[in-house]
């Protein structure tokens, strides 16, 4: 049995530097992550806090930080009672510049998100597998159009997480 691992790749018309800022600046994350501020001083071992409406929901620790190419932190999910007994998992962001085609003017960045280090049967894993595509789609929209996906999508995010959780419960039953 392979251990649960979530991998998602997206391409964004932006620079690695702007993408890095979008991942590490709380004022930015709040705009596309449906109100979630992610804050840290982004040094190795520093605390990472996730908050919504000034209330800390989750936290973690910086594991790797190589701006603007690679960022990794542990993540302990606290916001939902069902998740609290699980040990922290790990999320890693890899940013690769994609040079413009010959004669092209626009550069793009490839973003790979890897979320792993879960125990078998992790409910957090099932929930984040539903949530990441929405968060990353909103991030891409924000960087390319200046606006994240509409706030109505907060409900979609919750629905995606709930569906994944319900599937996990079904699989466990």
């Amino acid at each position: 049995m392979t251990e649960p691992k979530f991998v998602y790749v997206t391409y964004i018309a932006t620079t690695p530097e702007k993408l890095w800022q979008a991942l590490t600046d709380g004022a930015f994350t709040e705009q596309y992550w449906f109100g979630t501020r992610i804050e840290s001083d982004w040094t190795l071992g520093a605390r990472v806090s996730f908050s919504r409406n000034d209330k800390v929901s989750d936290y973690g620790v910086v594991l790797e930080c190589e701006p603007p190419r690679r960022l990794s932190y542990s993540w302990r999910v606290e916001f939902h009672e069902e998740f609290r007994h699980e040990r922290p998992s790990r999320v890693t962001f890899e940013i690769e510049p994609m040079p413009a085609k010959l004669g092209g003017k626009r550069s793009e960045a490839k973003l790979t998100v890897i979320h792993d280090d879960f125990d078998d049967g992790s409910k957090v894993f099932r929930a984040v597998s539903g949530g990441w595509p929405l968060v990353l789609a909103s991030l891409k929209s924000l960087l390319e159009t200046g606006g994240g996906l509409k706030s109505a999508s907060v409900d979609a995010l919750k629905a995606a997480e709930e569906r994944a959780l319900a599937a996990a419960r079904g699989a466990a039953a």
């Binding site: 391409y11 929405l134 891409k140 390319e144 159009t145 509409k150 979609a156």
Partner: protein
């Protein structure tokens, strides 16, 4: 041509990619099925599809040659578009069994959820799946950009080397006949 024994229940999902687009289901449907759209985001390929179940499906190179052929398995605008895919344009690949590609379109809050599912009828090695796993994120990221900004992305892609080797080996061994 679709193989005479075609039956969708034999196909198992191997690669799934989900994205959310600030658009309407009707626009997403159009982007998936209209050649003027696919040319922009799908590596220059123009879709040529008979809009009905059982209809012919083609993806053409810019010069008109056929890259991919297949049959429409489901045509339910603007919710679900599913067809078989057989690679015609690359010599080794045309001996591989067809796969089944399904797009599901759903309203999700203020956005549209698009789910692409690539399903196979045989135990495809990861090295061959790597082609789609590298390609779909680029294609569907570009589709999202076209719908939201009017501009596609500009991503250069080569099929992974290990994929070409794995295709040769699969054709030699034909594991799907076992």
């Amino acid at each position: 041509m679709t193989q005479p024994s075609f039956s969708p229940e034999k196909f198992r999902p191997k690669t799934v990619y989900v994205t959310y687009i600030a658009s309407t289901p009707e626009k997403v449907w159009e982007a998936l099925t209209d050649p003027a759209f696919t040319k922009q985001y799908f590596a220059g390929f123009a879709i040529d599809v008979e809009p009905r179940q059982g209809g012919a499906f083609l993806l053409r190179y810019p010069d008109g040659r056929v890259h991919m052929s297949g049959r429409v398995v489901e045509w339910s605008p603007p919710r679900r578009f599913s067809c078989t895919w057989l690679v015609e344009g690359m010599p080794d690949f045309r001996e591989l069994p067809e796969c089944l590609v399904t797009y599901d379109i759903e309203q999700a809050g203020g956005a549209v959820k698009l789910t692409m599912t690539e399903a196979h009828s045989w135990d495809v090695p990861d090295e061959i799946l790597a082609g789609g796993r590298a390609g779909w994120p680029a294609i569907l990221s570009s589709l999202k950009s076209v719908l939201e900004t009017g501009k596609p992305l500009d991503i250069r892609m080569e099929p992974p080397k290990e994929m070409m080797e794995a295709v040769k080996q699969a054709i030699a061994e034909k594991p799907w006949l076992r």
